[in-house]
Symmetry: C2
């Protein structure tokens, strides 16, 4: 957003994903990828219209209403994600994502607190989703437990899931499911090392 304000003040009318990439430390492909999640803004060849893009992003960000996020699976990945999300939310004033609750099946983990979020028993998840107004659930449980967790979320009205478990989840068409796979990033990096290893 800051970058677009600068460009607008400098009188730029269009900016390419290349330009945006240089100013944000992302590759042009990452800029395009990030912007595509919000809709088709750019036109091939002439880039993004600065004023229009700024307006759109403001519109999106202005919805500064807070979105409450839950996290199922307070294990290694879950706790690292929870700590990270909370750190990031503190740094970004306008952060709309608030991690409000974690869920686990291990009795030793129940009651743990990370900043404002607490670990609840997984069998209270349905109730807590409604009580706390959770709209997004991050799934960081083992693969065998992921479908059950997703089904409880769907039943409780959640429409957006971020799944880390290596399991193909079945959800109704109106539920948005993103599967995060950190090995994809690695695979694309492996591609870049291709030319290098003459060993």
């Amino acid at each position: 957003m800051r970058i677009l304000e600068d460009l607008d003040q400098k009188g730029w009318t269009h900016v390419s994903s290349q330009d945006l990439g240089e100013r944000t430390g992302l590759t042009p492909a990452q800029v395009r990828k990030d912007l595509t999640v919000f809709g088709e803004f750019g036109k091939q060849g002439i880039g993004y219209e600065v004023r229009f893009l700024k307006q759109q992003l403001e519109e999106i960000l202005r919805l500064n209403r807070v979105v409450n996020v839950g996290l199922a699976g307070a294990g290694s990945l879950g706790m690292a994600l929870a700590r990270y999300n909370i750190e990031r939310a503190k740094q970004q004033r306008t952060s709309q994502l608030r991690l409000i609750a974690l869920f686990d099946s291990d009795p030793h983990k129940i009651g743990l607190r990370i900043d404002g979020a607490q670990v609840y028993p997984v069998n209270s998840m349905q109730e807590k989703i409604t009580e706390l107004g959770i709209q997004i659930m991050i799934i960081a449980v083992p693969a065998h437990a992921a479908q059950e967790v997703a089904s409880i979320c769907v039943k409780s009205g959640i429409k957006a899931l971020l799944n880390f478990a290596p399991a193909r989840l079945q959800v109704p068409p109106d539920v948005r499911l993103h599967n995060a796979d950190l090995t994809l990033e690695l695979q694309s990096l492996a591609f870049y090392t291709r030319g290098l290893s003459k060993q």
Copy 2:
């Protein structure tokens, strides 16, 4: 790959990211994103040429030579990534990524083993990179330590880094740096919940 073999046998000459999405459980945007890392294969409007795409992916995958991966920071995130990478490599026969070593500054972690990979002291990282032929390093250390780790990697000849620490790393132009940020996925999901919350 399997999917492209099927389509080729059925006599499909072109396939859209929509079609690929339906067959892989990804969204068309994810298909496009995944394929863009390997280069510009698709043409807007007519999709991907099945035979050409198959050939390209085979070319990429055929380089089945193993790429040795290192991981700096054997903490919550690091250990979750290590376990996951090793799990995935066992499931995918052609996996070219092999996590071979972890590095940490905490003496209690030195010597821990996860499957074939061992945790080494971070001050032996430069030596181990050469000895073990590590080509990619995953950085999962705290933000304050990330630049130092990246600099050691670059000095040791590593050309590809996957960084999780919330720090903007400086690397020479010939080093490929990918910054993974799991909150980006969350932000795009928050966008989808936008229309929903009338609360």
